[in-house]
């Protein structure tokens, strides 16, 4: 029962956050200097054409009316028409790009989550010894590399000198991402560096805390072999906090995505956001930023629930004997 109550409360918060977020994004783009119509028409703008375009885009209506029209559209899945590329429906290019970004994000997750958890645990168990200082130093070094720095280094190694991986991620026409998985490797690796450093350090400290806890000492003094104690007693409690950390870091991951997709020209949501901001294509900016926020909020929610479900102290709150 307690778990369900917590679940519905968090769900409520999530929707509230999303609603407020959508309004803030709408507001943020509203306060943009410069007139939207002027941006679209560019150098060919004449007073009459500006008026006509503003009318067509309904820019003269009060802000709240426009917000609810836009929000209504979003809920119905219609992301509206791009200001910049007139006549082009945003959803036509948006979802394809989102698909690519999610695959890239998942590949990055597949690379760094198992690696950082494994090395975090090993460093924690062998705290103070040589392996620990090697892993910690490596973790610290990689954490300090912004995505584009590690990307540039990877390019110079793999593309410029070894020439085995493409320097830029372009999907030939008529093919899809699954036929060109090679373009995923370098972008995913660049993100993996930063995230690995961060998560492995967290996992190491949580592992050390658990190894020094009373119940691990009690288990050892019950005569249980050290390996068994680590696997059975320590690991489960040590991995729990990492779930929230990975969930909380999705925001960082998406920040990284933007940098990496720009560096490698990867046709994903990040580079789309970048070109939207560059061309001030307002509906596209709103759609991209809202989607990034949605993914972030949903992932935090999922990791919260996963943490609550796996942690018996929260799942079985009631039933005090």
């Amino acid at each position: 029962m307690e778990f369900f109550k917590r679940f519905s409360k968090r769900l409520g918060f999530m929707f509230v956050t999303l609603a407020v977020m959508s309004f803030i994004i709408f507001l943020l783009v509203e306060i943009m200097p410069g007139d939207v119509a002027q941006t679209v028409l560019g150098q060919s703008a004449t007073p009459e054409s500006l008026k006509a375009l503003r009318e067509a885009m309904g820019l003269n209506d009060p802000i709240m009316v426009r917000y609810f029209r836009w929000a209504g559209g979003i809920l119905k899945g219609d992301l509206g028409e791009s200001f910049y590329m007139r006549g082009v429906q945003i959803s036509s290019i948006f979802w394809r790009r989102v698909g690519h970004s999610i695959v890239l994000a998942l590949t990055a997750l597949l690379f760094y989550v198992p690696l950082s958890l494994f090395f975090g645990v090993v460093a924690g168990v062998k705290a103070g010894k040589f392996t620990d200082s090697v892993i910690s130093f490596f973790g610290l070094a990689t954490m300090a590399l912004p995505e584009f720095v590690s990307g540039v280094i990877l390019i110079t190694i793999f593309s410029v000198s070894l020439k085995i991986l493409p320097i830029t991620s372009v999907i030939p026409i008529g093919e899809n991402l699954w036929q060109n998985l090679k373009i995923l490797v370098l972008p995913a690796l660049s993100i993996t560096f930063v995230m690995f450093g961060y998560v492995s350090r967290m996992q190491r400290s949580s592992m050390i805390n658990v190894m020094n806890s009373d119940y691990v000492r009690a288990a050892i003094l019950k005569g249980m072999p050290r390996g068994y104690v680590i696997f059975r007693h320590a690991l489960k409690n040590a991995l729990l906090p990492s779930i929230t950390i990975i969930g909380m870091n999705m925001g960082w991951l998406f920040g990284g995505l933007i940098v990496v997709e720009t560096l490698f020209g990867f046709p994903g949501l990040g580079s789309l956001t970048m070109s939207a901001i560059k061309t001030r294509d307002i509906p596209l900016i709103e759609a991209c930023v809202l989607f990034i926020t949605l993914v972030f909020v949903v992932s935090t929610f999922i990791t919260d629930m996963l943490y609550a479900y796996l942690n018996p102290r929260i799942r079985f709150k009631g039933g005090e004997a």
Partner: protein, 276 residues
């Protein structure tokens, strides 16, 4: 302070971090006057020349400008912005975190919801949108934007530190002496929460350098010709085949500075724990 030096001696990694950091600070302060070239001086005779050739230790970029000078100048702007950012976001963080944590109830939940919302947008995206809109990013606008992006994180740490002290008896003792809330927060509790807050400030320092460099890379960094490490990487990316050093050295500069600070902040957190 005594055991600070003592601990330092036993921790080679911290010494490494501290020395690199001091080197960069020294370079930022004295560097420009020592170097023969100015950061925008164009030596047209040897554009894209290899490192070490004709007087350019780290070679030159496409416009024949000395890369070493530009990196040294770049360190000056990135260090100032990062320093100011971590200070502003920490001050704001402490103020917000403390008030929310101390008064609790409505304010606390309001604060948590706002923090959720502000942190919902990844800091980089938030800054990108705002800077993309403002157009020209100066040192001031970059500092403000990055500080806003990082205040939630510091506020959360400050709030956590306060909550751990708020329950202890010396706060109750102060209360029944009739002390004002302000006195309790900033005279009684603040000195005991300096540990985690200082650790947070140094960590924030490292992260803001990474973020400023990333913003530069995305093209919303400082207006040229003032050198900005992130911008240097993207400017020279198009000649990465001919002049890999023009891209590599700024990247290594960023990496070295951030690693140095992370090593040092790692050490600071050990000292703080030892202090308790």
């Amino acid at each position: 302070m005594k055991n600070f030096l003592l601990l330092l001696k036993q921790n080679p990694r911290a010494i490494l971090g501290l020395s690199i950091l001091l080197l960069w600070i020294l370079l930022a302060l004295l560097g420009p006057s020592l170097l023969p070239y100015s950061f925008s001086q164009m030596d047209m005779d040897n554009q894209i020349s290899r490192p070490g050739l004709n007087g350019h230790l780290l070679g030159t970029d496409a416009l024949g400008r000395d890369i070493l000078t530009r990196i040294v100048y770049g360190s000056r702007s990135i260090l100032t912005i990062a320093l100011m950012t971590s200070l502003f976001s920490s001050l704001a963080g402490i103020l917000i975190g403390f008030t929310a944590g101390y008064f609790g109830g409505f304010w606390d939940t309001l604060f948590l919801r706002i923090m959720d919302i502000v942190m919902a947008i990844p800091p980089l995206v938030l800054s990108m949108v705002v800077l993309g809109i403002l157009g020209d990013s100066t040192i001031a606008s970059l500092t403000i934007i990055v500080s806003i992006a990082y205040t939630p994180a510091t506020a959360r740490v400050a709030r956590g530190a306060l909550l751990s002290c708020k329950g202890s008896e010396y706060v109750d003792a102060a209360r029944i002496r009739g002390e004002s809330d302000f006195y309790i927060m900033f005279v009684e509790i603040l000195p005991n929460t300096l540990g985690p807050i200082i650790v947070e400030i140094t960590a924030r320092f490292a992260y803001s350098i990474m973020m400023i460099a990333s913003l530069g890379f995305l093209g919303v960094g400082l207006q040229p010709p003032t050198p900005d490490w992130g911008m240097m990487v993207i400017e020279n990316k198009s000649i990465i085949r001919e002049a890999p050093w023009a891209v590599l050295y700024p990247s290594l500069a960023i990496a070295s500075l951030v690693i140095a600070i992370s090593l040092f902040s790692d050490f600071i957190s050990k000292v703080m724990i030892h202090e308790k």
